[in-house]
């Protein structure tokens, strides 16, 4: 199993240079059957990462650029009257795919956002009283630009909660950037990329994730973290039970990527910033979410 996941990571790293940690996190999120939110400045490779992952995992890929005039129908699909059959015929939208890249999700109106988020939760679309099931596996990789929020509709906390992870990509290091500059950019390579696994194999990996052992000692630690976020004055509100479940699933995926059959506290510590960062609202506006999580980790004994 570790061979496969290593191969996936290696292949993706050929396109996204020097970002193994982020690739691993994104993969862990997919293995834990969650949706991914990538928050970073334009040009950091958000779209490339999403596209590469879809390619490597052998998945269908669709991309929607979110704008303020985008309507729910543009994403979900629409029923059009067919004169030949004298009937309404459903034209599926871009959402009927394995991986949907929702670019700049915060540019769309809340109406469209919520339509998408609903589908993310249910994995099905209901239009005119007919329910259409989405292909499996299905997940959304959304991106948003954190700095220029003018003319955007920021996702409220309740909707941020739908994303299992939020990651940032950050600038590449000097060596990777040199390598990138020497090549012709990732896009060309992207087209040549061959998949490592297919959708069926991915589903197998996802279910294998469930079998990663979580001991009582680890649950003690996990609960200590949850308790701390709820009792500490540092946070406005603590982590929800759903967040606790998410932490466990991500830690399992992370342990699998490390080739272990059980979760250890280090797994939780690795994924905690990405899983809890967007769910915890700090009481103080001065410290960033990264500092907050670091503080949280330091405060809870293993």
């Amino acid at each position: 199993m570790k061979k496969i996941t290593d191969a996936i990571i290696a292949k993706t790293s050929e396109v996204i240079l020097g970002k193994e940690q982020q690739i691993k996190l994104a993969l862990a999120c997919i293995l834990a059957k969650g949706h991914l939110l990538i928050e970073d400045l334009p040009g950091m490779g958000k779209t490339t990462l999403a596209h590469t992952l879809a390619q490597v995992l052998g998945l269908q890929f669709q991309r929607v650029q979110f704008t303020s005039d985008l309507l729910p129908a543009d994403v979900l699909g629409v029923s059009v009257y067919d004169r030949n059959t004298a009937n309404f015929k459903f034209h599926p939208g871009p959402i009927f795919t394995n991986v949907l890249l929702a670019d700049e999700i915060n540019r769309a109106t809340p109406k469209t956002q919520s339509a998408l988020l609903e589908v993310m939760e249910e994995a099905q679309v209901t239009i005119d009283a007919v329910t259409y099931t989405l292909p499996q596996p299905f997940f959304v990789i959304a991106t948003q630009n954190p700095s220029s929020q003018i003319g955007t509709f920021a996702l409220p906390e309740s909707q941020l909660d739908r994303f299992l992870m939020r990651i940032t990509i950050n600038y590449p290091d000097a060596a990777s950037e040199r390598k990138l500059l020497q090549s012709n950019g990732g896009r060309e390579q992207l087209a040549k990329l061959s998949p490592v696994i297919d959708a069926q194999q991915l589903q197998m990996l996802q279910s294998a994730c469930h079998d990663i052992h979580v001991s009582d000692a680890l649950l003690d630690y996990l609960q200590a973290i949850l308790k701390y976020t709820r009792q500490s004055a540092q946070f406005n509100a603590g982590l929800s039970p759903r967040a606790g479940l998410s932490l466990k699933q991500c830690a399992q995926a992370w342990a699998m990527l490390d080739g272990r059959d059980h979760v250890i506290p280090e797994d939780i510590q690795s994924i905690l910033p990405s899983v809890a960062g967007h769910r915890l609202v700090s009481n103080s506006t001065l410290t960033g979410s990264v500092d907050n999580i670091a503080q949280l980790l330091k405060s809870v004994a293993v």
């Binding site: 000692a217 250890i264 506290p265 280090e266």
Partner: protein, 680 residues
């Protein structure tokens, strides 16, 4: 109006907190209400009244968002309060005045208590005021009420401290805060007990209680006038309690000897002066001695009551007491704390076989030219050549056969009190009978004196001890007969035998004047009261009566060695430190959770590494720490990594339920690895 802006600034600052401080205010006012209710029994009435006014005012300020009174109102109020205390008590010092001043100032401070800091100051002051009530009274119920008030104050403190946290206001919050406060007090109990047992006691009353504390005590006086014993009989206050080593003697034997009065002056009878001490009267005893222990309530006088007639072995007496020539036992200092002492008495005795000339003079002393009718009667008996015994008989016969009535409410006596009583009103209480009898005897030339004290008592079946109340106060006579010495004659028994046989309740069955508990018509109440008194008696013996002697005895029992009270201080400090260290240890050591065997071995491993200068951070996972330690100690890197990996898998990997044996093997491998790890 000019400080409105100031107030508004305050309000906007505390805006979100008003809700919480309402809790704090109500807690504070409730607990202070308890405290002031207790003080209502001990301070002038206007002091609690003052509190009620300011408490309501403060509550309305909070409720209706009124303005706080300005400095120009508060300043004169404060001065007026101080002045009122000064006028009431005539001083600002002394127990009553200073506690009164504190109480008044705390009431007024309510009007300027608004910030968190104010509340904390207020609560601390209120703790002090509340505990001060114990300077006035130490009954159990007061103690319980004080505990209640302290719990309320602690809840106030909790409520104030919670103000910065967001708490959803709910009716539950009262319960939560009260529970937490009770828990805090309960946690303080061990410290309280250690302090109670070990805090060095000093013999005598609590240091520095001002003298005015004792003004309210009741008891026998050193002189007697018609009316003052019947006055005393209206009080149900307990005078003393007695535990007998053997069976309790019959009621008519229970004469508790107090002041002996010799000197007559008008209607007043007084003790002999101590300036020229008389030799102690000789005592011959017969029969079996009665041994008993008396717990005497403080009465601010010197007498120690004893069963008639005590044989005094100096060693048995409480510190520095002495015996007077007429068998009164006197302490050196007035009795201001409850004391316990042993008694050793004989019911059959012969006292003062020889009467000295001086005593004879004293025992025949009368003011001339008073009570002519009485003197005539006495002269008549003498002229009939009656013997002293016959004279006594004649006098008692007169009481018995004429229409004398025993009553708690005798009419006032005129200018010649004995004449008026014997020949006119014929209604009196024991002091009337005793004094007129002695007067008659002296007029007839028989040496006589009055003995005051208590008669009877009430058996508490729950504790098998005797309760003697102020209502049992009594006066009787002693006459001196050639050959017999001083003989006790109780003229009251001639008038009302029931008084002596069965107690005052039986002698005056219908008297509404008697205190409720001395009467016979409420058996239920009496039963309840007896239970309650047994509890009270225990409280007095073991809590209030825990003095230096008891403390030393207890410690001697515990340590099996004599210790001085200076050592107790050291013991106290050591115990307190040990207690605190223990509590800190419990708090710091993972709340005392027992470690699993795996973890215990891992802890040894961590200890070894910590000694080598690589301590594990508490938030570090085993694997991460292993890597860090391996880097720091490259020589042992392999072992460290192996141990870390093994521990981590033991802790977090899946165990097969069936492979108990392998689990044990892994454990022993881990043990071996840790044991073999040598760090140089």
């Amino acid at each position: 109006m000019f400080n409105r802006t100031g107030v508004n600034v305050m309000a906007s600052q505390t805006g979100t907190q008003t809700h919480i401080s309402m809790h704090a205010i109500i807690w504070l006012l409730l607990s202070l209400s308890i405290t002031f209710t207790l003080y209502a029994f001990n301070l002038e009435n206007w002091v609690p009244a003052c509190f009620i006014v300011f408490a309501i005012w403060r509550y309305l300020i909070e409720k209706n968002n009124w303005l706080y009174p300005s400095l120009w109102l508060r300043l004169p109020l404060t001065l007026a309060g101080g002045l009122a205390v000064l006028l009431t008590y005539g001083s600002l010092f002394g127990r009553d005045a200073s506690v009164g001043l504190l109480a008044v100032m705390i009431s007024m401070k309510l009007l300027e208590t608004r910030t968190k800091r104010d509340f904390i100051v207020m609560v601390v002051l209120s703790y002090f005021l509340t505990v001060n009530i114990l300077l006035f009274t130490q009954a159990i119920w007061v103690f319980l009420a004080v505990l209640l008030a302290l719990t309320g104050l602690t809840a106030c403190l909790i409520s104030v401290s919670h103000q910065n946290k967001k708490i959803i206001p709910s009716p539950q919050i009262w319960k939560v805060q009260a529970k937490l406060a009770a828990k805090l007090l309960l946690q303080a109990t061990p410290i309280m007990l250690v302090l109670f047992v070990l805090f060095p006691r000093i013999p005598g009353p609590i240091w520095g209680i001002p003298q005015d504390s004792y003004s309210g005590m009741t008891g026998l006086s050193d002189s007697m006038e018609p009316g003052n014993i019947s006055q005393l009989s209206l009080s149900s206050k307990i005078a003393f309690r007695v535990e007998f080593k053997s069976a309790i003697p019959a009621n008519n034997q229970l004469y508790w000897r107090g002041p002996v009065l010799w000197h007559q002056e008008g209607r007043r009878w007084q003790m002999t002066s101590d300036s020229i001490p008389l030799p102690i009267e000789t005592l011959e005893t017969s029969g079996v001695a009665t041994d008993y222990t008396i717990t005497l309530e403080p009465h601010n006088r010197n007498w120690l009551l004893m069963l008639d007639l005590p044989e005094i072995a100096a060693s048995a007496l409480p510190a520095e007491a002495r015996i007077k020539h007429d068998m009164q036992v006197l302490s050196k200092e007035p009795i201001r704390t409850r004391i316990r002492y042993q008694g050793h008495s004989y019911l059959h005795y012969k006292l003062g076989a020889q009467l000295s000339e001086r005593e004879r003079t004293l025992a025949l002393q009368l003011i001339e030219d008073e009570n002519p009718k009485t003197r005539q009667l006495a002269a008549k008996w003498v002229s009939e050549k009656k013997s002293p015994t016959a004279i006594v008989e004649a006098a008692l016969k007169m009481f018995r056969e004429q229409e004398f009535i025993y009553t708690l409410a005798p009419p006032r006596l005129g200018k010649e009190p004995v004449d008026d009583f014997l020949f006119n009103t014929k209604r009196g209480f024991c002091e009337h009978y005793a004094s007129s009898f002695v007067y008659l005897m002296r007029a007839a030339g028989v040496p006589a004196r009055i003995v005051t004290g208590y008669q009877g008592g009430e058996i508490n079946p729950n504790g098998n001890y005797l309760i003697i109340r102020q209502s049992d106060a009594h006066a009787w006579a002693e006459i001196w007969l050639q050959g017999n010495g001083w003989v006790r004659i109780d003229p009251t028994s001639a008038v009302s035998p029931d008084r002596i046989e069965m107690g005052i309740g039986a002698a005056l069955p219908d008297s509404n004047l008697l205190p409720l508990l001395s009467r016979q018509d409420y058996p239920m109440l009496k039963h309840l009261y007896m239970n309650w008194d047994a509890v009270n008696n225990g409280w007095n013996q073991w809590v209030l009566g825990y003095d230096q002697a008891k403390q030393l005895a207890l410690l001697k029992k515990l340590i099996n060695k004599d210790i001085a009270w200076e050592d107790i201080g050291l013991l106290l400090v050591v115990t307190m430190i040990a207690l605190m260290l223990f509590v800190s240890y419990l708090l710091l050591s993972n709340k005392g959770i027992a470690l699993s065997p795996t973890n215990r071995i891992y802890q040894q491993f961590l200890k070894k590494l910590a000694k080598a200068g690589v301590p594990k951070l508490r938030h570090e996972g085993a694997i991460n720490f292993g890597h860090r330690a391996a880097k720091a100690l490259p020589n042992q890197a392999i072992e460290i990594l192996e141990i870390s990996a093994l521990y981590s898998s033991m802790q977090y990997a899946k165990h097969q339920a069936s492979s108990e044996k392998t689990n044990k093997e892994t454990l022993s491998i881990l043990k071996q690895l840790v044991k073999n790890l040598k760090i140089k």
